[in-house]
C-alpha cells in the first residue's frame, strides 16, 4: 500500500477502516476526501512546473506528498527572484530529490514498521518531529501581514473544527485561511 498510494494519512485511515470491515466504496471515498488537500498542492506547484516536459510532470505528481510539497514550495518561493530565467531553472531536480528521498524512506520505514512497530515505546514521541519540521517550514513563509493572517485564521479554524471527522477540518481551515489572506492583502 505504501508504494501504490504513497500518502500517509489516507493509508492510516484506510488501514483502520479495512480493519473494521467497512465497505470498499466508503473506504475509497474517505481516502479521496482526506487527500483532497493535494488539489491545493497541485494547484500551488503547477505554475512553477509549467515549463517542464510531460514526463517530468507525470513523475513528480506521483511524489507530491505533504512533506515533498512543503519543502519544494518553500524552495520555489525562496528562489523565486533568482530563477526567473527558464533555461537556468533546475529546481525540478530539487523536487525530484526531495520526493525520491521521502519515497525511499517511506518504503523502508514501512518495512521496518512491519517488523518493529510494536517495539518502539510511545514515550519517545517521535511523531512530534513531524510537527517540528512543519514549524521550521511555516515560520519562513510568514513574510507579511497577509500571510500571518492566513496562518492564524487557518490555525484557529483547524482547532475549532478539530472534532469533525475525516480530517475535513484541515481542508476547511486552509480555505478560510486563504480567503482571510486575500482579504488582508486587498485591504493593505
Amino acid at each position: 500500500m505504501s508504494a501504490i498510494v504513497f500518502a500517509g494519512s489516507a493509508q492510516f485511515i484506510s488501514t483502520q477502516l479495512i480493519g473494521h470491515g467497512i465497505p470498499a466504496l466508503v473506504i475509497l471515498m474517505t481516502a479521496v476526501v482526506v487527500n483532497l488537500r493535494h488539489l491545493l498542492y497541485s494547484a500551488s506547484v503547477a505554475p512553477y512546473m509549467k515549463p517542464l516536459k510531460p514526463g517530468w510532470k507525470w513523475s513528480l505528481a506521483y511524489l507530491l506528498t505533504d512533506e515533498a510539497y512543503a519543502v519544494t514550495i518553500t524552495h520555489y518561493q525562496a528562489t523565486q527572484d533568482t530563477s526567473l530565467e527558464q533555461d537556468a531553472d533546475h529546481r525540478h531536480w530539487f523536487f525530484l530529490g526531495a520526493g525520491l528521498t521521502l519515497w525511499v524512506s517511506w518504503q523502508l520505514s514501512t518495512a521496518f514498521g512491519i517488523f518493529l512497530g510494536t517495539q518502539v515505546p510511545g514515550s519517545w514521541a517521535l511523531d512530534f518531529t513531524l510537527a517540528l519540521t512543519f514549524i521550521a517550514l511555516l515560520v519562513p513563509a510568514l513574510k507579511d501581514r497577509s500571510s500571518w493572517a492566513a496562518a492564524l485564521a487557518a490555525g484557529l479554524v483547524a482547532v475549532l473544527a478539530y472534532s469533525l471527522p475525516l480530517r475535513i477540518g484541515l481542508i476547511f481551515a486552509a480555505i478560510v485561511g486563504i480567503i482571510v489572506g486575500l482579504w488582508v492583502e486587498r485591504r493593505s
Binding site: S42, A131, A154, A174
Partner: protein
C-alpha cells in the same frame, strides 16, 4: 483480491488529484484570483496541521501552561525564526519536549 483493488483505486484517485492542476495548467493561463490565492496555501495548510497538533497532542484538549508540546512548539518556532535551520528546530523542539515532560513527571 478485493483489498488489492481497493488499494489500487485509492492509489489512482490520489494520483489523479495530485496530477490535476499540474497537467491542466500546461494548456491554460492561470486565473488571477487563483494565482494570488496560491501564495497563502503554505502558511494556511501548515498552520492548520501544526496548531491542532500542539493543542490536542493525544486527540484530547490539553490547553494548559504545562502542555509540553505547546511549549516545545513555541520555542521551536522561535529557533526557526532566528536560525531558519530545520535540523536545529527539530533538535531544540524534541529537547524541550523531553525536558518539560521530565519536569512534569
Amino acid at each position: 483480491m478485493k483489498l488489492w483493488l481497493t488499494m489500487l483505486a485509492i492509489g489512482l484517485a490520489t494520483y489523479a488529484i495530485r496530477l490535476s492542476f499540474i497537467v491542466l495548467l500546461g494548456q491554460r493561463e492561470i486565473p488571477d484570483l487563483l494565482r494570488r490565492s496560491l501564495r497563502f496555501v503554505p502558511p494556511a495548510v501548515l498552520s492548520a496541521i501544526i496548531i491542532p497538533e500542539l493543542i490536542f497532542p493525544g486527540g484530547a484538549l490539553e490547553f494548559t501552561a504545562t502542555s509540553a508540546r505547546l511549549i516545545a512548539g513555541l520555542l521551536a518556532g522561535l529557533v526557526a525564526w532566528r536560525t531558519k535551520n530545520v535540523l536545529l528546530t527539530i533538535l531544540v523542539g524534541m529537547g524541550v519536549l523531553y525536558l518539560v515532560q521530565a519536569l512534569i513527571n
